[in-house]
Symmetry: C2
Subunit: 654 residues, 2 copies
């Protein structure tokens, strides 16, 4: 008997590592963010050095909705997408409710759904800034209005909330919004033949289609995907008609279509460029729509853009977006570590993009990137206390540089509690609270174990899989597969790129020589009970970068399992750039339960510190550097900046 349509039913995350983070969501982050959007807590913003995201003294996001709903008097405050802080909180809260039921939280989320319904106009429109301040300008300045972006975020939240709680009102708001957009946009006569400045609606509509199966939503998503870059004068025309001097963000009027990834149709795009979050949200929608419609041109485009990011524009931590100028990608192989932007939202978007790619085609490279973000680049966006956030994630930081060199003052060296543009906090919480969605991927009669987060998962046909592991600190996995109906299926295990050359798999205790196909090994399952153990290579490894990357030449990073490490000043001496690893350093890996809520540190004596030969001159002639043997401790990158403020570096001289 074969099941051709395997599906995940329920997932229970047992991982100690992720359990702590998910408890943090329910106990700290979600209540904290609720207070923030309700203006019940003082905002503490790191603004010295200036933290990207900007300083603010309040959120006003709930207040804006109340004003739009007629429940409160007052003016709109904030970004034109301020509403999304509420929506992304709601989405996070929905996921939390799926694993940590909580009456009080449920009351809050239900009340937010009611509030949103009240704020929504009869025709489905919802964007409080326009409703409160400038109703006559609705859909008239899409380049900067974030209206479709905002509604897209609600649609995601509404779908998630409906899926977890069955709240139909939440779903209906989303449908009403989508219908409103469908009534205004498209190729038909009388509709706006336009696109949003900030993609998001595409992926949201695809998600809404999946839960409603209403084809018009998929068609509309596809329209937005295909229309982008077709009419390169659209934004200019709208801006001119609306009044050239009425920009919401002055520089965004003249920055050009490339920044919006709207310089040509996606079928002609060969590289990611422009604002990182915009292009990656777009790519997520692109991959999703390509899969749902089976459009081969769109699939090819998604593959091209994926390949460009991961082969030419991604930091080793998974961070993306090399510059703060426009929060943007720069160009292939340009990966400066100390001026990087690496927005938390962009890393979250990479997870979404990767997930859609994986859903289209089982290949280990996608899970590799999801893992990279979950344990490194995205996770660094949130403090261990759950209540402080990075907007920018550098691979090299120095408080002196952030303060003293304006080209680096977007790099905060401690996390803020909130931002004027507060997109990152609720993006990282919605990712962490939904991490259960990334464990397995099913495709016909295949179950792929993609993320090795200890869990007990129920599939259809009474298949139950238990994964026991202390991952990411241990590389030992133990799968117990219960299959009482003896269904025949393929069980795939992703072989991470960092263990590709060294891993061991045993099925019921017997070592297997399995071929690796697209970074996945498959085991045929037919018995009622199967035990599979896996051992990955957990030795610390040195990473080197393609020589086309200027800034990493002569340097190495250190990775152990999925975790990329960094050196922090608090564990070592400054300046961190003076450390030089030997050619074959050996590292001691030590689990420290008392440190940073439990981490494996890497320690080595195979390192020297480069010192001055002549103490106070700036330059020396024909004098060799002096070196002294020393000791170096590395900690996981995601955990940096949780103690005292100081220098940090991922890349070390060798």
């Amino acid at each position: 008997m074969k099941n051709q349509n395997l599906k995940v039913q329920t997932v229970k995350v047992n991982s100690k590592f992720w359990g702590r983070y998910r408890d943090l969501m329910s106990e700290e982050s979600i209540p904290f963010q609720w207070n923030m959007i309700n203006d019940r807590d003082k905002v503490e913003v790191t603004n010295d050095p200036f933290a990207a995201g900007g300083a603010t003294d309040k959120s006003h996001a709930i207040a804006n909705l109340k004003i739009a709903a007629g429940q409160q008097q007052g003016d709109f405050f904030g970004m034109d997408f301020q509403d999304t802080d509420v929506y992304k909180w709601l989405e996070s809260a929905a996921y939390v409710l799926s694993y940590a039921p909580d009456e009080k939280l449920k009351e809050e989320t239900d009340s937010v759904v009611d509030l949103i319904a009240d704020a929504q106009e009869d025709d489905g429109y919802l964007s409080t800034m326009f409703q409160i301040e400038m109703p006559e300008r609705k859909f008239k300045r899409l380049q900067q209005s974030h209206e479709l972006y905002s509604m897209g975020h609600y649609i995601e939240a509404g779908v998630a909330y409906y899926e977890v709680t069955g709240n139909v009102k939440a779903l209906n708001i989303a449908k009403k919004m989508a219908d409103c957009i469908n009534n205004h946009f498209g190729t038909e006569n009388g509709k706006i033949l336009g696109i949003p400045g900030h993609p998001e609606i595409e992926l949201a509509l695809a998600r809404l289609y999946e839960v409603t199966q209403e084809k018009r939503y998929l068609d509309l998503a596809k329209y937005f995907i295909k229309q982008r870059g077709k009419d390169t004068s659209f934004f200019d025309k709208q801006n001119k008609a609306d009044g050239i001097d009425r920009d919401f963000f002055p520089v965004l009027g003249t920055i050009g279509n490339r920044y919006y990834f709207a310089d040509k149709p996606v079928t002609e795009q060969t590289d990611v460029h422009g604002h990182a979050v915009r292009v990656l949200y777009f790519c997520t929608g692109l991959a999703h729509v390509a899969r749902l419609t089976g459009d081969e041109e769109l699939k090819k485009a998604a593959n091209r853009l994926w390949t460009d990011v991961i082969k030419k524009q991604m930091y080793v931590t998974g961070n993306v977006g090399q510059t703060g100028h426009g929060e943007a990608f720069t160009y292939d192989y340009d990966l400066p570590n100390d001026t990087v932007y690496g927005e938390t939202c962009a890393s979250v978007a990479m997870v979404f993009f990767a997930k859609q790619m994986l859903n289209t085609r089982l290949d280990g490279q996608f899970g590799d990137v999801i893992e990279k973000e979950l344990f490194n680049g995205a996770l660094s966006g949130i403090a261990l206390d759950g209540k402080h956030y990075f907007y920018v994630n550098p691979l090299e930081a120095d408080p002196k540089a952030s303060k003293g060199n304006q080209g680096k003052n977007h790099i905060a060296t401690r996390r803020s509690s909130w931002f004027a543009c507060a997109c990152c906090p609720s993006n990282i919480t919605r990712l962490i609270s939904s991490v259960d969605k990334y464990l397995y991927e099913t495709s016909e009669n295949t179950i792929l174990s993609d993320q090795f987060i200890a869990n007990s998962t129920q599939f259809n046909d009474e298949i139950k899989i238990n994964l026991d592991s202390d991952y990411p600190w241990s590389g030992n996995l133990k799968y117990t597969i219960e299959n009482s109906k003896k269904v025949g299926f393929r069980f795939g295990i992703r072989i991470p790129n960092w263990s590709a050359n060294s891993f061991e798999i045993r099925v019921n205790g017997e070592e297997q020589q399995l071929s690796v196909q697209d970074q996945i090994v498959y085991v045929e399952i037919k018995d009622s009970s199967t035990m599979i153990t896996v051992q990955f290579n957990m030795k610390a490894q040195l990473i080197r970068t393609n020589v086309s990357v200027k800034d990493n030449l002569g340097k190495v990073a250190v990775q152990r399992g999925p975790i990329v490490y960094c050196a922090e000043e608090t564990d070592n001496e400054k300046n961190l750039w003076q450390y030089k690893l030997s050619q074959y350093p050996s590292f001691k890996d030590i689990y420290r339960g008392d440190l940073l809520d439990g981490v494996v540190t890497l320690e080595t004596d195979d390192v020297q510190k480069i010192e001055n030969t002549t103490s106070d001159t700036l330059y020396t002639l024909d004098e060799e550097a002096k070196t002294e043997k020393t000791h170096l401790r590395l900690i996981p990158y995601y955990s940096w900046a949780n103690r005292s403020e100081g220098q940090m570096t991922v890349w070390l001289h060798q």
Copy 2:
């Protein structure tokens, strides 16, 4: 017999190297700039990548003066200091006339002096923007008005022109300006107790004092030096009174006193900071006034600031100003090579500062910096054709980076013919055309040979010194000292820091063991004829940087004699960062008359190119880099970007 007051009378530069540049001034640069300021030539600006200095289609500088003089109708155009483009051209032309008499040029310069006199108001005031557009705002917004800066530049030009040609009218304009400023500024009741946003007037008044011996000019200079940073609310008060929204340069209203080096009195300043040219012009005036007044506190301040620049904030090429944000210094030991500003004007200002320091105290460190600028950092500001200029001088450039990464798009990879802010072209020409002023420094009975530029120089007491040399390509100097009156004096020779450990001096053929005092050796002269030969160490040497400088660790630069070298893509393969010098590379130095108007290149086979082990991945795990033996050619830094556009780097991996 001793002469206690040795003075230079006339200098003739015989150097082949500088002769070429000085001919270039008279034959190309000065006529070219004359056409530019008269709007007779098309401006060709490099603005892709965006070149610092900005794009423009005209100068209008002469036209502004004509309008102010009532000789022409029209509106003012340009920066509020547009007049200085004329003044600095006039100053350059004056120096050119001193060595290359030219009737046509003399007519032009005389006519410019007449024009300026006509434009000057009866009370001495001259700043065409204010005269034409906003006479009611004179001296009301000194933070940004550049009025004293502009008049300061005229004073320098007027003094120079008077000294060369004896044109009294030119001097009188300067005196009238200084008197106007003296009538408006100072501590007396009814005067403005204020300072200019951009220093320059201080050094100009000191210069005017030296030629006129009018003490009020020195007192006024001292007032500006001492007043700076005393009243930190001065600019804000003026801006408020003038209207807060009437900034000439919007960002300059809120940038803060630190940027203006006006955050505290100079006697309390310990480091250079803020806009590089501002602080260095101020330091020049400071050192000059300190010497003229004998004020010990000011002397100490000048020393402190000098030491900070050269020991903590100067690039190996002599360039200064680490960031384009505010064209500013950043902080000690911050010396990024690929985001540097290194404005040509700032290097010229370093020469002025060093000269004033040297004039106060004979010490080789000052001449070292003058030399560094003359042969490297400042000289790189002008193309070999004399008609194209760099505003920004990077130590590492890549056209792809300048185009693709906005944090680097201030770094042009080819020189422009002109700029919207055209301060640099005439600054480098006034330096080159006055290079004769830097050869000797006299102090009582001492003559110091500071810059080794071949020359014949007449001193008082019928002392004549001839220096024969092919410097900078050769390190052999031959001095012939004719001293028919057998005057007893000390003849000093600076021992450059790059030859401190290895040099040979012969007096009348006999090798001398002379002690070095502050990087100077002294020979007692009393005979009627003395021949001194010097041999400096002209081996290529490797430069390393203090380990506190993050960006140069693991890298070396190469210097031969006074010349710092760089690698250019056109001579080598890209990417230049893939080259790695061996520990003890040996270089062939080859003079090539056909290359770059004659340069010594350095060539080595002791170099490897680092290549990828795996071709198309971005990161590799536990794979060592592959290296291939190769060849590397280096050229003098000043001569880069005179052939095809491409990568350039001063620092090389080792």
